[in-house]
Subunit: 211 residues, 2 copies
């Protein structure tokens, strides 16, 4: 949910080529992980040489970081003016994200593998994921504070744990869903869990996510 | 939380050696992942040759599966007679597991990386993790059913989603905690989330996890 970065100026053909490589990298990192997937695999998928990939992205580490930014941009592309909502609309946005994710297993798989791999020693995306979770926890905690203020409730001291838990349950359900899509309903389970956690913070009330 | 398997009969010295290799494999797979960690890395850590590891475990895939079973056994080792609790004691057991996990980052790191890596194509632990989550979801759903019966509540149709969500939030919080242990309190956040989800299933009541 990072704000969009300005695109660097490039010729349209170069931009198309870069995007093809990014799509192939999502596929390969999802299928094999970052440690297991190689630039040769990615090059083969787009009919280029290994050197051609390096020409566009400089290094495998750099390509990984561009893949993650590319995914962030696709996350916010459907939001009006790329504006991240606050308050209760943020929780509804997270439920809609899970509904959208259930239709794009490839990018979810890449994200599941890369985020978990990022805890390994000296992983090139460790700083990215550490900062990303920190930012997301802050945004979710802020939404809780805003909802409490709107409703005249004193913000409880569970908000930080609740923010971490909402992101955690979204991530963890993705793993179970990828392993057994016929056994885990990603969208429905995510909505259930977010509603349970939001209710726990706000106190019992009927269906807090209802518009 | 698999039941303990009978140990194969081996000489004590062989068992000690196998255990040293398993401990080293937990370290290496946690530090580098399964795709990134090699038998040579593991052999170096225990002062053996690569062939020596193969003598004990047959293949890298087989070693991975033994590491996962080894972890399952350590999970239940502290339970009386290795009996998995049911009903509300299961939820308290899961909270205690998170408290214990906060003291063993190494094995948590290995588990986070291996479970996420298992969604990659043809990963040797894919069947293991698929079956493990299926079994755990069943155990947690059964505990919900037992608690509802005890309290004379009609079991709601959210039990399956709640079971998946409890396992998911435990996994997802581990990733955030490994990346930022000073920012995420693994034990406290896990207890908050389990209590929120249990309350959502049972209906509002003060602190359902309290003994």
């Amino acid at each position: 949910m990072d704000a969009a970065r300005p695109q660097r100026k490039s010729r349209p053909a170069t931009l198309v080529r870069r995007r093809e490589i990014l799509d192939a990298a999502v596929d390969i990192f999802g299928a094999k992980g970052f440690a297991g997937g190689t630039l040769v695999d990615i090059a083969a998928q787009v009919g280029m040489t290994h050197a051609g990939i390096l020409h566009h992205f400089g290094s495998k580490d750099q390509l990984l970081l561009e893949v993650l930014r590319y995914r962030d941009e696709s996350d916010v592309a459907d939001l009006e003016e790329r504006h991240i909502p606050d308050g209760m609309p943020l929780f509804r946005h997270l439920v809609r994200t899970a509904i959208a994710n259930a239709q794009r297993a490839g990018i979810v798989q890449a994200f599941v593998v890369l985020s978990a791999e990022s805890v390994t020693d000296d992983h090139p995306a460790q700083a990215y994921f550490t900062a990303r979770y920190e930012q997301l926890r802050g945004e979710v905690a802020h939404a809780f504070t805003a909802v409490c203020a709107e409703r005249g409730i004193t913000a409880p001291d569970t908000i930080e744990d609740a923010a971490a838990s909402i992101l955690a349950v979204m991530d963890g359900l993705q793993v179970q869903w990828l392993l057994a899509p016929e056994r885990v309903d990603l969208a429905r389970a995510t909505e259930f869990a977010i509603e349970a956690i939001v209710s726990s913070v706000l106190g019992p009330q009927p269906s807090p996510l209802a518009e």
